[in-house]
Symmetry: C2
Subunit: 234 residues, 2 copies
Amino acid sequence: MRHKKYEFEEIILDPLNVLQSDDVFSLLPLDRINQLTQAARVEDYRTPILLESRGTFAEYLWFVVAGSVDLTLYSKEGGIARLPITQGHWATWAAVFGSKPLEFDFWSAKSTTLIAFPKAEVITAVHDQPKVMLKILEQVSENATLLNTWILTATILTAEQRLAHLLLILSSRQHTSVTKGLKVTREHLGMVGLGTRQRVSRLLGKLVQQGVIMIENGQIVISSRERLEKLALI
Amino acid sequence: MRHKKYEFEEIILDPLNVLQSDDVFSLLPLDRINQLTQAARVEDYRTPILLESRGTFAEYLWFVVAGSVDLTLYSKEGGIARLPITQGHWATWAAVFGSKPLEFDFWSAKSTTLIAFPKAEVITAVHDQPKVMLKILEQVSENATLLNTWILTATILTAEQRLAHLLLILSSRQHTSVTKGLKVTREHLGMVGLGTRQRVSRLLGKLVQQGVIMIENGQIVISSRERLEKLALI
């Protein structure tokens, strides 16, 4: 018997499928899609690997087939913070189009499969395509807006509202239409400022009770994005 | 005797000057710059005015000549959070290129002068110019990266480090080369999660002592962006 999750991963393991089902890349002419497909490389990581270091420049745009790419920051005092980019999402458009060195490390989680598209090839494929550029700009803009709102909510929202908000941010990162659940751990959610694993579990429970999310096989599935937005945005 | 600040405001009160000295718009052909100049409108506000409401769509890209445009969010319980976009900066590229309704209100501060460029005219002027689009994408990407880092630092940095970080975010918002000081109040800084006005004053004092910033006529001047970055990013 084949596992449901496995089927999903098989579908998106093919670079051509990923590009053709994506909001941005599907707008490209076929020859550009084919060129990008040929430049793509599938990467498998059993253990966490440092993909790109803070202070260097991104060399790839990654599509997360399984596992996650974790934006990671360490403090001098030994603190650690992670923002995971999960299955079915891109990591990250902003790193590819910014011209400054990376501000945080990119780590793969354990059991992670990625499709890597070289940054230079991505830029060559899209830079002279106005519709595609507008679409990328739209997605990066919406991400920036969500992040702005997250900062604004820091002082005025309850922890429950902030969790709803964080789920919106994590699930809106340039995902393809094939994305279903959000694979984030309670530890991940706690690491961006919502407290301990136990506290995050309690907060998630409240969202489940309200019918806004479901937990299925350890994944968070957003039942109603509309209600989640209503809850998150005051 | 004319005030120094006033001279600066006079220079940037001319839409053509603003466009020609800007990293993005200066890349446009001259006829496009002229078209945008003709579509521009100078707006003066003596008292705070609601410019755009949450739930609607942005209609203008604003350049802040004096005062500020404040991204503002209210909670049901009466809480209020503001993120100011200050003199010499654009408010906001992300609102113009996103396709979703605004997630927060845009308010003018008191004594605010703006140059408003209609969103539709801006998009028409830039959409088929690959170099310009790449530049806009670069700036929005870098903003998104800074915001990501701000979220990552929430749990692992000291208040002093976070303040340094916030100053970097506020001063990097798509500014023109004529920008000097950062006009933000202690109240503004406190509103994004750094505590009371008094606490923010103490934190600013520490940064002044370290020679990273100066306070001149109530404005924060960044003495060394490099050292501020070093302090902020762990």
